[in-house]
Symmetry: C2
Subunit: 799 residues, 2 copies
């Protein structure tokens, strides 16, 4: 049993994918309704494909460019292997594939949900949630399959499928980081580009259609209406999917890296503990694999029986599925932790030395992750939920105009950081107290285990939203719309909590990556009392702010292009307003697609360029590598702290404005008077929503990618900066690379070791392996002692 | 000459204060105009006094409470002396006195400026700038006099006026920190309370007066109109004055602390280098003192001769004064650095060991400070200046409604963090590279040296603004208003750059305090790879966001109270609308005053409570003091990084919205059409300005106080956390306190010393001084060796 545990997660992922395929076939077999419905749905489907096509074009160029950069890194850094390129390409490919599948099923489930709603509400729920399930299991299944598959591959390639030492495992995991980097790069395109797309199409369609031409929303005569509907899928389905795909992979990877360091802390070998001596490395994968099966079970529990069910019953059905999944994850974590980890482990705690940690403390950390994941979702729901105090306050403030509405919304978003950050800080503290940074990473892993379930719930929202739109456009009887409205309303709530889950997972993932980065580079922590590190903390803190501004401006620009195209079509296509001329939907889709992908270049460049600049520019000027690593660490911390804050602020402010506006639909009591849509207060609330749209759908969610990608880039270039290349034993091929780089033919290798003896005195051992005249190897050792700065200088000279 | 250098800064401050008094007499001798003018001015003056009275009441309570807390600290911590209470009270008193003087002169200069404008423009400028000069020199003079006076006092009291050792100098400077804490506490009241006051009165007056009653702005029938005018002085004059008073004092103090550590790094004594061996400690005071005389000279250069001068000529006059001051500071820094510092110094650089630093590198750091101070002001001017690209963009976006105007304004504020933070990070890096954190502190000191000049320019703005209002209300001929308008327009520009200067100075001050904190506690830097430290970095980052939200909400609440009072007066006072019944101005002033002071309690509590909670709650749970110190350091860094970002974002967004709105007064070109006040685009711009008002006048500027006060609180409680109590030699009284606290009558004292030997092994020396039977002292020493955690446990046991 123990021997096959390395293959188990991949097997579970495949089971998940098979179930997904079955579910997909079932959904596809559902009736897709009459001609009009089919036509609308087909347009949305084609639009989504058009976006994917354009995205893939750009993507291919990006993947080629990034692969060349990775090849350069692999060339210069002995511990980075060329296989990282393969891992990167597959990471990108799997993520794109998952997005493709998700988009396709979502755009095909919508019309089937409308049709099912003509029969009954339980049927409509099972169809729409079925589509969500396909999406969720597809994303999670591919993530786990890809990651574990490549791990098996690299573990066999580099280590012959058997434990050798932590240094070689580090090489395996560094190479595996390429897969994660590939996935997260696609997420940048999907999340940021998708965010720009959806709002550009939305604003563009509204501005010309509703305001200038005076036709209602979702009117098929509006050339941008399909782009608008596609946008919902591009942003909420594909964007969210790619985001969580990236988080899932990165979290598991980071936990594996930190697991490897436990083995190191325990003396470099724990083979006697079973699982081939790699229990702590396998555990995160095992939890991820089990999570897929658990999510499968969870999705099966989501059903209602009554045709007269209301929102609360639908919500309860979703909650039951979700809570059961979380409870099952807790149970399986207990079992797996107890089974796979040594009963007690030694872990190095910074500044506190080695500590004995029982495996039950690791279980404690996973519970922290599950609890905090749920709690942050609840906080999000409180600050953005209809009928809750913060929303009612914004509604009240709308009565004195748009200005006070905006101030109230901004203040709500800002205040919401208080409980969120305190929860989050407690999670870091507690999970670290339980089991060090391995605990933090496993808290994230446990939280992410239900990703498939979370995504199913997330994707169900936009599917129901689209279903309602199709019902409206194809003029179904009111009952159908009522049923889809119930689903849509529940979907709005889950959309907000889903964003809370996404940022919580991104934040914990980033921390785990951050910890992995520090261990990879071998630096002694990140001391912000060093001025260059502090300066980079400031620069890092600034990046999310500027990124958000760029994303917001991008929406404005892209929307303007859409406006011009719609105006052109209204002018140039004869009979378009009478319904006789067919609007060129694809042109609008193309504009939205191209504009969004183009406009995300600058924020993307910012994300990728800054960490590279911080690493390589000082290197050119001859700065010490470890000092650079520390600076980059400061930058990563700055981006993460500021990014999490701005994500919570923007998501919650946007969500709050949105629901404050929606409150007017049912009517609200302001100063003792019932106030409805069309009132001045409502108009003020609409202004707030306009501001909130890019906040919650573009810049806010993009923060997730920004912080994860920043930390991943750091992790991938860590070996270049890292001190561990000096003490690690590289495998055959890489050692050869070191040999070749030497000019003196007699010198086989040079190795420098530094050892701290007292606070200021270092001993450096300088080992040279040369050939003597007979071709035999001769090992010579020189020692040198001095103050830290003297030794560092000496080491640089020797190198 | 060298011997009297310790007294020189105080003498220069007194010269500055004498010049201020002369200038004040000159201003007061100016004609204050006719009856109507006098009446309006008298109302504003009385309102200002009413605010001061209420503030002092609250202040007294606060000072008493804080003094008790400080007494408790002094009781428990041997190295904290009771004199810190005296220093604290005087710091508070001097700051309040400076604010009092500034408010009084500003509210008396306004009417004299109006009267002078009836004669000529040059005369009007010289009167209004004369008032500003009184304010500037008063604040700066009192700051330098207070700080240097107390230094002389404590230096004589603790050290007998002669160098003994760095430990005793640390006691002197720790006690002196009380003065700075007192000053900054008052700044909290003045800046935050003032910010709430000015916007509450503004919004309250507008909402009932302009909107409901339909009377024009500044109409004397509006009971809130005086409160509104008082608000300008409370916020822009007193708030800014207290802010810069606090920065000035804190910067010099922090530089002195770091100067003391240079002496420590150089072996603990540099008496042979002259200046009684305290050159590095005296230098920051000397620069501050010289800065007062330089500012005096600078203010004398501000004059115009032509009665037909335009804005550009007035601006040039101010700029000449400013630039000459800055150039003179550079020259005096060169002279003082060369004269007062050893030609080469040893400084400990983190992780790099001791370095030889020539005094010219310290001069380099001061140049960095001067350059960056100017550059950040320029950046501010670019992003908020009339006619500049960012403003034009917001104007364009106003044409599509309030929503797009808001997005554009937010984006502008966010983008403006890019150059500001890069400049700021470069300043940290470069000044540190030149001369360590002493370099950073001296960069701040050099920048702050022209504080008096900066304040003169700042205060000149609201004086001219008020002068214009008085001209309007007292119905002067148009020429008078034209002249005051020229001054007012220049004042608007200087207001924006002044905010840039204030945040830059607050940020550098905080960093210097942060560095002083680390050296005070004796921790080995702040390692954010420790999870509790990282958690506190997150919490610290959240505080400025929540603080800003609270401040914004406070404005809303206070404004609502004002609205109710104005409504009541309109209803209850007979003949008020006809001008026969006199409005109760004082009631509105009282409401604004009380509401503002009450509403600032919660943000104030947040500011003061969080660092105390972080320090003391873990202490109760028995956490290691050094670990707490590191956590608190992480918190301070989080507050500073996030606070600087949010200050820049909010100030610049608010300034940009304001000027976008003002652009419509002269007319703007939107889509090829000239658009003016009253257009839809203008209305959208007004909405933006409503949002921007609390941003730029309340929450944004409050960030300065938040970050400085946080770091100061850290500095004051540093000795409680610090490891240096274990190795420092306390003076007589404090040693006595330690003796008394022992239960065993034979034990005279216990002392624990920890010494690092290798990375993980510590040696701890445990010294007990006891009396033998003959009453003679016996010294016993125990040694103990082990891993870090073992030793730490042992140390805790011994304690």
């Amino acid at each position: 049993m123990e021997a096959i545990m390395i293959y188990m997660p991949a097997v579970l992922a495949i089971i998940g994918l098979i179930y997904m395929w079955v579910k997909r076939s079932w959904v596809m077999k559902q009736d897709s309704g009459d001609g009009k419905m089919k036509e609308i749905s087909a347009h949305i489907y084609e639009g989504a494909l058009a976006f994917l096509k354009a995205e893939y074009k750009l993507l291919t160029l990006f993947v080629i460019g990034a692969s060349i950069a990775l090849a350069a890194i692999a060339y210069f850094v002995p511990t980075t292997h060329y296989l990282i390129i393969i891992a990167f390409i597959f990471g990108a490919f799997f993520s794109a594939l998952a997005g493709n599948m998700g988009m396709k099923i979502a755009t095909q489930t919508n019309v089937r949900t409308t049709q099912a709603a003509r029969t009954s509400l339980p049927k409509a729920l099972s169809v729409s949630f079925g589509g969500g399930t396909v999406m969720g299991l597809g994303v999670a299944g591919l993530a786990v399959l890809g990651l574990t598959g490549f791990f098996i591959l690299f573990f066999n390639y580099f280590m012959g499928g058997e434990w050798t030492n932590t240094e070689q495992m580090t090489v395996v995991l560094e190479t595996l980081a390429g897969f994660s980097l590939g996935a997260e790069s696609i997420a940048l395109f999907a999340r940021v580009g998708g965010g720009i797309y959806t709002k550009a199409a939305d604003v563009g369609a509204d501005l010309v259609g509703k305001v200038e031409a005076g036709i209602p929303e979702d009117d098929p005569r509006n050339p941008a209406t399909i782009a608008d509907n596609v946008g919902d899928n591009v942003g909420d389905v594909a964007g969210m999917g790619a985001d969580l795909f990236g988080s899932y992979v990165a979290t598991v990877l980071a936990a594996m890296v930190l697991g490897n360091y436990i083995i190191k802390d325990m003396g470099g070998e724990i083979i006697s503990e079973g699982f081939g001596g790699i229990g702590p490395v396998l555990l995160p994968m095992a939890i991820a694999g089990a999570g897929i099966i658990i999510s499968m079970i969870g999705t099966m529990l989501v059903k209602i029986s009554s045709n007269d069910a209301k929102e609360s019953q639908v919500m309860r059905a979703l909650n039951i599925g979700n809570w059961v999944s979380i409870a099952l994850v807790a149970i399986i974590c207990y079992i797996l932790v107890k089974w796979m980890l040594p009963a007690t482990m030694q872990m190095e705690f910074f500044g506190e030395g080695l500590k004995e940690i029982s495996s039950m403390r690791v279980f404690g950390a996973t519970i922290i992750g599950l609890v905090v994941g749920g709690a942050i979702s609840s906080v999000t729901e409180y600050y953005t939920g209809l009928g809750k105090k913060p929303i009612l306050k914004i509604v009240q403030q709308s009565s004195t105009g748009a200005g006070t509405n905006i101030i109230a919304g901004l203040a709500t978003g800002m205040i919401s950081t208080f409980p969120s950050i305190l929860l989050f800080a407690s999670a870091i503290w507690a999970s670290y107290a339980f089991a060090g940074f391995y605990g933090v990473a496993l808290a994230a892993s446990a939280m992410m285990a239900t990703t498939a379930m979370q995504l199913a719930i997330d994707a169900f929202g936009p599917i129901s939203d689209n279903a309602g739109g199709i019902a409206e456009m194809s003029e179904q009887e009111p009952l159908v719309r009522e049923r889809t409205d119930i689903l849509d309303s529940v979907g709005n709530t889950t959309a907000a909590t889903g964003k809370g889950f996404a940022i919580a997972s991104a934040a914990l993932t980033s921390l785990a990556l951050f910890a992995a980065y520090v261990t990879f580079t071998g630096i002694e922590g990140i001391n912000i009392f060093k001025a260059p590190v502090l300066a980079m903390l400031f620069v890092g803190g600034m990046i999310p702010v500027v990124f958000s501004a760029l994303a917001m401006n991008a929406v404005g620009k892209a929307a303007m292009e859409m406006v011009q195209e719609v105006r052109r079509q209204f002018k140039e296509i004869p009979g378009i307003m009478e319904g006789t001329g067919k609007p060129q939907y694809d042109k609008c889709v193309a504009i939205s697609t191209e504009a969004s992908l183009r406009e995300m270049m600058l924020p993307g460049l910012l994300t990728i360029g800054f960490p590279l600049a911080i690493a390589f520019i000082p290197m050119i000027f001859g700065m010490n590598n470890l000092a650079i690593a520390e600076m980059l660490g400061g930058y990563m911390a700055g981006v993460t702290v500021s990014g999490v804050l701005w994500a919570i602020f923007q998501n919650n402010a946007g969500g709050a404005w949105d629901n404050a506006k929606k409150s007017f639909e049912a009517g609200v009591l302001i100063n003792g008077e019932m106030t409805y849509k069309g009132s001045d207060a409502h108009k003020a609330a609409v202004t707030g929503d306009t501001v909130g749209d890019p906040f919650k759908d573009t810049s806010g969610p993009s923060m997730n990618i920004l912080i994860k990608l920043t930390c991943l880039i750091g992790l991938v270039i860590a070996p270049i900066l890292g001190g561990h290349t000096e003490t690690d034993i590289p495998n055959q091929e890489e050692t050869a690379a070191v040999y070749n780089s030497e000019n003196d033919n007699n010198i086989i290798s040079k190795e420098v070791k530094m050892e701290k003896t007292t606070e200021n005195d270092y001993v450096t051992a300088y080992v040279v392996v040369t050939k003597n005249k007979n071709g035999e190897e001769v090992i010579e050792t020189f020692e040198f002692e001095g103050t830290e700065s003297e030794v560092r200088k000496k080491v640089e000279d020797i190198k």
